[in-house]
Amino acid sequence: MLEVLVAKRVGTLELALELSVGAETLLVAGPNGAGKSTLLRLLLGVARPDRGRIALDGRILFDAHSDVPAEDRRLGYVPQDYALFPHLDGLGNVAFGLAGLPRRERRARAAAWLERMGASHLAHRRVGALSGGERQRLALTRALAREPRALLLDEPFASLDSSARRELRGSLRRSLLEWRLPALIVSHDPEDAMLADRIAVMERGRIAQEGTRDELRAAPSSPFVAGFAVASRDSL
């Protein structure tokens, strides 16, 4: 369970929000500038809330007394452009997060993770040569190989073309259901709603409305929520 209650001022934006994500997928939607990226940075520990509390499975990641550094938060993160390390091959990218193990074991584990995710063929490829879908798969494998306690995905399909998006949404949904981790997906694309169990719509730094897609569609609290809920499709 990921519990978030944070406030932060960034420029003119006053971010103040409360969220909790159990073993489910929450889609955080909202227009540009709503504070979605800031929320991710606060959760990841690369930006500091002005006040509040972040806890993961009962462990405090941030409050008035403690601020766990990013490297110890055990959050899996897949950024928008996937941020694969261009100087490493597929295996090297996955093995990066397994530091602390002897080299041989690290590589064996990374290979096992690639196999488990159906990405063994990417092990010895330069990441620059991979397709958008392959990059996403590799970035997800790299995040999961560290056995995180929650998963954060930033606009997972923004850098893909529409046919790849359709195909990969299905596969990502299956992965999320299989892993059953608290997962938070940030997106401004209504079609990503099909990935989520619940949707939280952010506007101007706050959660404007939260609920299932049907709930949002039935009683939208703002024009953006209405537009978002209507544009989201019914099935995968």
Binding site: R41, L44, G45, V46, P69, A70, E71, D72, R73, L75, G76, Y77, P79, Q80, D81, A83, F85, P86, H87, F96, G97, A99, G100, R142, A143, R146, P148
Partner: protein, 262 residues
Amino acid sequence: MSSRSWSAVQHSATILLVSFLVLPVAALALTLSWNDLLAGARHPLLLPALRLSLTTSTSSLTLVVVLGSLVAWWVARHRGRLSRFVESVTQLPAVIPPAVAGVGLLLAFGRRGLLGSFLARQGLSLAFSTPAVVLAETFVSAPFFIQAAIAAFRRVDENLLTVARTLGASPFRSFLRVALPLSAPALVGGAAMSWARSLGEFGATLLFAGNLTGRTQTLPLAVYTAMESDLRAAQALALIMVAVAFAMLLVLRRVSREADDA
């Protein structure tokens, strides 16, 4: 201007400038006989100066690369007045004439200098010693590496560093395992420029370290000294210095290319 005359202007400018840049180096080689070159190679000043130049320029390069990388990383990752100020300060030696740098170094680290007088009381005298050569070379060559390193580090995608952190890497390990390898080609390029500047350093060294054979007389100073008595010997030394610099640059370029391919 018509497109034909525009390209004629470009071609003429290229021919003019390239000839001007090549001619002095060509003159060094073309106006020297094999016998003169061999005599130069046996010149008593050559070996001590060559040895000193290689050891001092390698030492200053090590200082510049280790300290410069850390400074450049800090500057590249921070925005604000202080980092802009630090960046300007690191560029300062590039615009100071080397002779002025030499006077400054003497006034700072000389026996009666700002810091030098304190060091002298501890029994440490820097001026006119081999370490003074290293300091002079470090002073004049640091901007070349630091500027390249800042530019390279600024190009490192913040997202990669964030991901590295979420994968368990401390900020130091992210720097070591992500930023450094990604910037390696540019860092090697900057190191090559810095090293070349260091090898050619003359004015600051002469004023701050002097011209003592075997202790502070580097290759450029040996060329200068030989020139007073024997132009041919100076020319032979100069040519050998060009060859050393050229060989080193080839090696560095090769390393840079390998880092790029890795």
